[in-house]
Amino acid sequence: MNRFSYQVMTGALVTALTGMYVGAAFAQTSVSPTLGRNLAAQCANCHGTNGKSVADVPSLAGQSAAMIVQKMQDYRDGKLPASIMHQLAKAYSDDQVALMADYFSKQAK
């Protein structure tokens, strides 16, 4: 994505998006390229900077976006056993998970 494509957003649109979750509107509009990065930074404490783990928790960097999306849904729905991911996954919308999965899938392994 062009790094600056979001710049065409008007002030009004920015305001309209303020305070709401990444919704369907976002999916069609050009999303700030930093949004996925910012969301994914929440995971780095446990999965490593940009998803590159240096310890026992699995890396997310370079994993397929589809796999990350699927696992996050399964954690959320209680279909995959977890010590903690089931509690975290419930906090994120499908769009947010998609943005994070896309970001991690593009990071070097």
Partner: protein
Amino acid sequence: MNSTSTRRNFVKSAGALSLLGTLASGGVTGCASLGGVAKPKVVVVGGGYGGATAAKYIAMWSEGKIDVTLVERDAQFVSCPLSNLVLGGSKTINDISVAYGGLAKYGVRHVRGDATGFDPDKKTLALADGTSLPYDRLVLSPGIDFIPDALPGLASADARGKVLAAWKAGPETVALRNQLVAMKDGGVFAIHIPKAPYRCPPGPYERACQVAWYFQQVKPKSKVIILDANEDVTSKKGLFTKAWNGQFKGLIEYRNNQDIQDVDATNNTLKMTFGEDFKADVLNVIPPMRAGNIAASSGLNNSNKRWCQVDWLTYESTAVKNVHILGDALQIAPAMPKSGHMANQHGKVCAAAIVALLTGDTVNQTPMVANTCYSFIDDKNVVHVASVHRYDAAQKTMVPIAGSGGLSVEQNVLEGVYANSWARNIWADMLT
């Protein structure tokens, strides 16, 4: 360049978001330098979980477009999380220390020194050695300091060296471990917990477990007494009380509503607000605390004169412009703990905002932060509490997301592995 004019138009149209730009466009204020000659400057004070993270992420996310300096007196970071394991004996202080050298590869300059204050008009930070550092944005991650006159008996350094707090990891952690090792079998270790809010809500209870675990192995006739100024256990109550009534039965005693007036360090004695003085062989007092000294002395502690209020979109102080504050020093949002994990998350939201402000991008209006606190019951079994928070534009604060987060069902060794993994990854996330 085409994108320059696009960007300038954008900056104008989104002026309500108070953007700052650094492009050679003129008319943009707030930066020490314009025109691409010198880069905008960010100075970060304090290399803990908040400050080190902010420094690394500002350098990394700005891709070298921002000049980042970290002011931190020590050569290496010592982690508060996991420091209770040094007291228990399953880790050494070296195991929980990481050098600051790794930040250099991101372009972060480490200045060893003590920040003493700043001039908000000239935008300079003063250091104890008489030098000063100019900034466009100042980030303070000052942690906590103890409220000076709350416990007069701990006013002297001598007294504080005897009745230890060990609530900042480092030499005091080792000194408290040494006191425990020197204590006779059959002795009493007592820990006094101040009224909330304080740094690391589950920390004192974890500490009690770690000391009990140590006693169990080598001094089984000894006792741990928790004297809590709070009405009840402030964090992970069910999980901790299960351990106290289970593997540590008879070893740990919990007492609530234990207000103290003062401490007599010569006799290792607590002056209780109600009832008899309390004497222990090893006395550990966590004094009431507030935002770190530099925040308090410069009037940033505008909540009850204890904690600092910020705009949760940028972490900019509500008291002084261009100064951002992170971590335990903050007046917390609802259900947001004072934890290292949380400070790391503050650091990233702040870093994203500062990079946006100094490069003419929009500040993210929907920031989120996630928290996890792992507590070690013994050397292997661990419990956690987790929560996720989002910005609420109407309330202008962070709110926990309903239905998310929670606690471990019970202590378990798998989370012991994950807690150690967490430590290694979060330290790397800050420092390497």
